[in-house]
């Protein structure tokens, strides 16, 4: 590609990024506005700058906001591991192994994606209540250990089916069991799918409001999305500025997580996989 066309490409990208990110710039601007300005100044630029939203957001609750980061990170971290392991295992069965009922199970698995989840909140609560899991983090983590996130199972199935069969066929001829093939062939090749799963598991858990709201009761156990909602009691005390400030701050860990993992995504399997 020539120098000129590279420059043009960069300019276009920068322009698109600018438009795409404008709402975030606006939010940053607003997080620096004083409370008396935030409702009635719609422009991006504050009339007077103040850092107080960040200070207030961080420490105005009885628990410093960092605690919510920690809680969210713990739950999100556990979810990443649980989803990666359980969904990969299930996906391998669907993508590579032949067994009776596979098609039916696969259709059921896709079907579990289709029911609007709001009608499941109450029955699920009843179920977890019967298990004695209320007031514990179990409802947030155990389902992920059991591959209930069909999204990721399906995702990994699609990736595995994109991997040529030569390698596992060859291993099979050499007498390798499905377990060995899983461990030595599929696991290394499934890296893009695993990284993608890790990224989404982390980010969606980081943003999930309703489940965490229902199963967490103690302020010191609250996670970031639940805590962010504490700033806006729409009928009463509303601290919009601190909410903007903490929303932006809470983007930082997920952004860094993404930045780190997307690197692994693009390092890719081209070199490690097919020749290995």
């Amino acid at each position: 590609m020539s120098r000129v066309s590279a420059a043009v490409r960069l300019l276009i990208l920068l322009a698109v990024v600018g438009v795409v990110l404008y709402p975030l710039f606006w939010m940053t601007g607003s997080s620096l506005k004083s409370p008396s300005e935030i409702s009635n100044n719609l422009s991006f630029w504050p009339h007077e700058f103040t850092w107080s939203n960040y200070k207030e957001g961080w420490s105005s609750l009885d628990v410093v906001f960092g605690r919510f980061f920690l809680n969210s990170a713990l739950i999100a971290g556990a979810t990443v591991v649980a989803n990666c392991v359980s969904c990969l295992v299930a996906a391998y069965a669907f993508a590579r192994l032949k067994f009776r009922g596979r098609g039916v199970f696969f259709a059921i698995m896709i079907g579990t994606l289709l029911l609007p989840h709001h009608v499941l909140i109450i029955p699920q609560y009843l179920l977890f209540n019967a298990f004695g899991w209320i007031n514990t983090p179990l409802p947030l983590v155990v389902p992920k250990l059991l591959a209930t996130e069909a999204f990721f199972v399906f995702l990994m199935v699609q990736f595995m089916r994109g991997i040529p069969r030569d390698l596992d066929e060859a291993a099979k001829i050499d007498g390798a069991s499905p377990y060995r093939i899983f461990w030595h062939v599929m696991l290394p090749l499934a890296r893009p799918a695993l990284v993608t799963t890790a990224i989404f598991s982390f980010i969606w858990t980081w943003n999930d409001f309703l489940t965490q709201l229902i199963y967490l009761n103690d302020l010191s156990h609250y996670t970031v999305p639940v805590a962010l909602r504490l700033f806006i009691d729409s009928s009463g005390q509303s601290s919009v500025g601190p909410m903007f400030a903490m929303s932006l701050l809470s983007l930082l860990p997920v952004f860094l997580f993404f930045l780190a993992f997307q690197r692994m995504l693009v390092d890719g399997i081209n070199t490690t996989g097919l020749k290995g």
């Binding site: 579990t112 499941l120 909140i121 609560y125 209930t148 302020l219």
Partner: protein, 449 residues
């Protein structure tokens, strides 16, 4: 792509028939089992009479609010624990978003907190479905002492003859105006007792004098409080038992009143009204600088004042103020399935009657329901706006009319229907008559159902 990965899953559309009969039966069995568990939990009643009064008790308590309310509630509950060291609290609080979703889920699971905060939109929903404990016996034995409460306020906590919620405080709808902006235009500020027509005429002047930059008044046609007061001024009611206390004609007149105001530019166009209709404090036109007045609860002036540099004032909703009544800002209720009803009742009694709690809470949960506590609290209020709204409520209280019953179940739906159909008229998607007709039909269905 979802922002939250699906909570959990359903069944296959393709295969739910084949999803083995045994699974289905097992599911049904579990459902029945869980169901009966819910019932038996809900059925276990009061403290055992033989229970040791000093045995350790942990009460769960759940409320919505901001962090200021959290701090003052923590402090109040600490006072109780200090006096009764055997009683401790498991406190859960959050903002109002999602509060009723969570409360309903816990209640359906037989796990509701012993004490919970509730408002007049939800009280009947819970009380009519027998999820709140009837506190009449505690009221009669003065274990929950409401003798210093305005009688109409107590009445406003009674659903189907059961005392379902103890009002924590009193609140009144108030029209909040931007004194700075109005004075700058050389106009007089609105006053309590001015008629709706007066308001609209005055508002038209505001719009004209400001060159269209500031509309005179918010259009409150989607505000059930405004409709209710206006109806009472016409000798009607919003509710009459399990049906509306007004006809489609009445509602159409109400919509027409405001259509006139919009046509005269006294009120802003529909999209601006819409931003405020959801009721969020920070989006009210009086603080976003779009209109000179907003229709809210009087005590919200404190929070509104934080969002603007201008000086705000509060007067009654227009028309004869005797159409107003003492309303409960919110209640504390006890879950029917609590194991510690006596203790919970004693805690509520302490929270609503202790002058110390009154000082801690100020007007955060409304003007104290106990008038003695109120008299002790109001002079000590430091915030000028809180003081102004308290003074306003106290003055208005002398003019209050008789209280209607608590809104029936379905009230929340009626509130949102009113917004939908008022907006239909505001956006000129329907005539006043057609919208009013649909509103009345659907509202009646919602209350009856």
């Amino acid at each position: 792509m979802p922002n939250t990965a699906p909570l959990a899953p359903g069944g296959s559309p393709l295969d739910h028939v084949t999803a083995s009969r045994r699974t289905l039966l097992r599911g049904l069995g579990a459902a029945a089992l869980l169901g009966s568990a819910g019932v038996s939990l809900a059925a276990c009643g009061d403290d055992k009479p033989s229970a040791d009064p000093n045995a350790p008790v942990e009460l769960s308590i759940f409320w919505w609010g901001g962090d200021a309310r959290a701090k003052s509630t923590d402090a109040a509950l600490a006072l109780y624990t200090k006096a009764h060291p055997n009683v401790t609290f498991k406190k859960t609080w959050q903002a109002n978003a999602g509060y009723y979703d969570k409360l309903a889920t816990l209640t359906a699971g037989g796990n509701a907190p012993d004490i919970f905060q509730i408002d007049d939109g939800a009280l009947s929903e819970y009380a009519e479905r027998h999820q709140t404990l009837d506190l009449s016996a505690y009221k009669d034995s003065k274990k929950i002492d409401v003798s210093k409460f305005p009688p109409s306020l107590v009445q406003y906590g009674v659903v189907d003859g059961a005392f379902a919620g103890v009002p924590t405080g009193e609140n009144t709808p108030g029209m909040i105006y931007d004194e700075t902006a109005i004075t700058a235009l050389g106009l007089a500020v609105p006053t309590t007792g001015m008629s709706w027509e007066d308001l609209i005429t005055w508002a038209e002047q505001v719009t004209t004098k400001s060159g269209g930059k500031l509309y005179g008044t918010m259009d409150p046609s989607a505000d059930y409080k405004a409709l209710w007061i206006w109806l009472r001024q016409q000798g009607k009611q919003l509710y009459d038992g399990k049906k509306l206390g007004c006809t489609a004609d009445d509602v159409a007149k109400w919509f027409d009143l405001w259509k006139g105001a919009r046509d005269r530019k006294a009120a802003p166009p529909a999209d601006i009204i819409h931003t405020a209709n959801a009721g969020d404090v920070t989006k009210q036109l009086v603080v976003t600088g779009k209109a000179a007045t907003s229709f809210l609860w009087a005590n919200q002036v404190t929070e509104l004042a934080k969002a603007t540099k201008n000086k705000l004032g509060v007067v009654a909703y227009p028309g004869d103020p005797s159409a107003q009544w003492a309303r409960a800002a919110m209640y504390l209720s006890i879950y029917k399935g609590t194991k510690h009803a006596d203790t919970a009742a004693d805690v509520i009694n302490f929270l609503v009657n202790s002058p110390d709690v009154g000082k801690l809470w100020g007007t955060d949960r409304g003007l104290s329901a106990n008038t003695d506590v109120r008299a002790a609290v109001v002079p000590g209020l430091s915030d000028a706006n809180a003081k102004a709204s308290s003074d306003f409520e106290t003055q208005l209280a002398s003019k209050f009319g008789t209280a209607p019953a608590v809104p029936p179940k379905g009230h929340v739906k009626v509130r949102s229907l009113l917004i939908t159909y008022a907006e239909n008229v505001q956006y000129a998607k329907a005539t006043s008559a057609a919208a009013a007709d649909q509103f009345v039909n659907e509202a009646n269905a919602a209350i009856a159902g």
